[in-house]
């Protein structure tokens, strides 16, 4: 079992992101469609990981605001993969949460809406329950 001080490294392993390669150009934050809803912006997420402040990342609104559109990954000139850091932080949070998932299969029928694409539901389940 990894200790608390190992959290940043665990996050690196889970995300596969290369936080050290970031040159702070801001192109990720420039590309992000969900920027305004985030308290820690995509490029800052990379800096937080560099500093090792995983708790702040897990408690951010960003982990819920990121749409997983991967625009930041697509455009980052250094192949840092900021969205994967965000996703990893969310996963760590969900795992810590244990058996109380944010969405359970039973909630789904209620959420169904003919306009919602199936794919979105599948990705929501994946995002909130893993």
């Amino acid at each position: 079992m990894l200790g608390r001080t190992d959290l940043p490294n665990r996050l690196r392993v889970i995300s596969g992101a290369k936080d050290k390669d970031c040159m702070k150009c801001g192109k990720c934050s420039a590309s992000c469609p969900s920027y305004e809803k985030m308290d820690i912006r995509p490029h800052q997420f990379v800096s937080y990981l560099q500093r090792g402040d995983v708790d702040a990342m897990m408690n951010s609104t960003t982990v819920w605001a990121c749409l997983c559109c991967y625009a930041c990954i697509e455009r980052c000139p250094r192949d840092v993969k900021p969205a994967q850091i965000i996703e990893a932080a969310r996963l760590m949070l969900i795992r810590r949460q244990g058996d109380t998932p944010y969405v359970s299969a039973d909630d789904i029928p209620e959420l169904l809406d003919p306009d919602t694409p199936q794919q979105l539901l599948v990705s929501a389940l994946r995002k909130y329950t893993k």
Binding site: K24, G26, A30, S31, H43, P77, R78
Partner: protein, 660 residues
Amino acid sequence: MKRVGVFVCHCGTNIAAAVDVGEVVDKARLERGVVFSAEYPYMCSEAGQTMIANAVKEHNLTGVVVSACSPRMHEVTFRKAAAKIGLNPYMLEMANIREQCSWIHKDKDDATKKAVSLTSAAVAKVHLNTPLFAGESPVTKRALVIGGGIAGISVALDVADAGYDVDIVESTPGIGGRMAQLDKTFPTLDCSACILTPKMVDAATHDNITLHTYSEVESVEGFVGDFTVTIRKKARSVDMKKCTGCGACYDKCPAKKAPSEFEEGLSNRKAIYIPFAQAVPNVPVIDREQCIKFKTGKCGLCETVCAPGAIDFEQQDELVTQKYGAVIVATGFRPIELGKFGEYAPESKDVLTSLEFERITNAAGPTKGALVRLSDGRKPKSITFIQCVGSRDTTPRGKAYCSKICCMYTAKHAMLVKDKYPDIDVNVYYIDVRSPGKNFDEFYRRAAEEYGVNYIKGQVGKVVDMGDHLVLQAADMLDNRQITARTDMIVLATAIEPLKSTKPIASMLTASIDTNGFMTEAHPKLKPVESPTAGVFLAGACHGPKDIPETVAQAGAAAAKVLGLLSKSKLTTNPCVAAADELACNGCSACESVCPYGAIGYEDRQINDHGVRGNQRLAAVNTALCQGCGACAVTCPSGAMDLLGFSNRQILAEVDALCR
């Protein structure tokens, strides 16, 4: 038995920190034939060299081993020192205990063991060394410059002014390169054409300079001092001797749909054309793919209107072969293709590369210098510059390096806009502003401070063309906010790359290119204008991103090296060449097929085999062409081919010593 002396260098702490030098000295003394061994902090220093000289005299040494850095660094130094005291220089060997030992090992015991082994291998080799004598080769007092941009023109003028003949081969119809396309130049904002065209004319009229425009290098043979180069002069379809440059042909030519290379495709040119009004030489070229006569057999208008009768539809490519002592590569650069950078909407007419912007601001350009949107001809109210497009990008679509010139030319563009049209809102998105260089930072700061150019630290993530304006989404890293803004024109500071044609040039010259396709220098610090191939020099942006001042400085340095070479009447050749043992060679031709320098031929030799006279086909090495690479020696199935100074016996003795 030779009397060998071993000298072990500390190289300051470079070697001594990782290797127990005293131990290497002691162990060396136990080697066969070693009568003297010593250590010194810097063997390459004058005191170190004197130490070798004194020991040779005092101990009657007939072989010397220096355990120090790579022979590429100091073999010449030590061999010269040996020659000075009358020892044949090839009786000295180096053991590389720095690059191949102390620099790459952390454990001192292991590194010391390895240094001892490497030294004993060198001792084993030196026992088999024989005196070798360098030959001589001629120097052709003529230089070839490949590429007629500002780099090539500068080298040519410098070499020609010193009294030597120079030929410039330029692939396009005229000289001048990228600089001819520029409007004003940083850091002084003087007009590019005003400083370049006089140089172009100087090159064209210089008694010692011959221009081969619309020409390409077809093949290169030979070596330093004695290159034989074939140049293909592509058919211009215009007789250069008859043409007066009146321009009647291109005025009348009805085929006018070819995108102009000089105008970056922003306007069209005729099928018969000169690249721009001040082109040197002022002789047009027919683009046979565009010409109606070549396509359909009809037209011939240019021929009709050409009073001196210079049009020649039958003209063929011409091959010219010439000898040269030195070759200078100055093939320049181009902006990268932006097809993979869809987020910037590069297909939009109002999104320009910086080079296109140079043409738009140029009074002689496609808009006659009017700053207008190419989509609708309106004057922009806002212009946005984006830096580092495709540069500093480690993904497969970009270039990992900084293109170096774009921070400065962006500041220039921004100032030029503000100077003419103070009412236009100018924003620059940057990651870092890189402006080292004389008066460079002052120049960039003037854009911000005097001209009110708005510099925003951050990148643009997306550009959308809305028809009558553009919208961009960007990040401001210092204010930590996202910006969505309207703008009328976007200029992309596009990464630059070497031309694709640089690679074949490099391989013809057996010179090398780096992973980015730029020409490689022989040493990044001490030989920045020489290629690793003797007699081949580098100038300008073909070697890495460079601005004009740096290009001209490098061209001057390359010219000095060329002059140093051409001023010699003879060159000494490397005696470490291949030689075939005529008793073992059976003339199979295996060696000939692997020699990259074409140095191996065959001759019939009369032999007397047990009283039977006969002819035997034998490999013969042209020692002037042989570079001592050793490919033949390892290929020869009968073990007949050997390399002087690196014989099979010598190498096996080293291996034996290492395996002990």
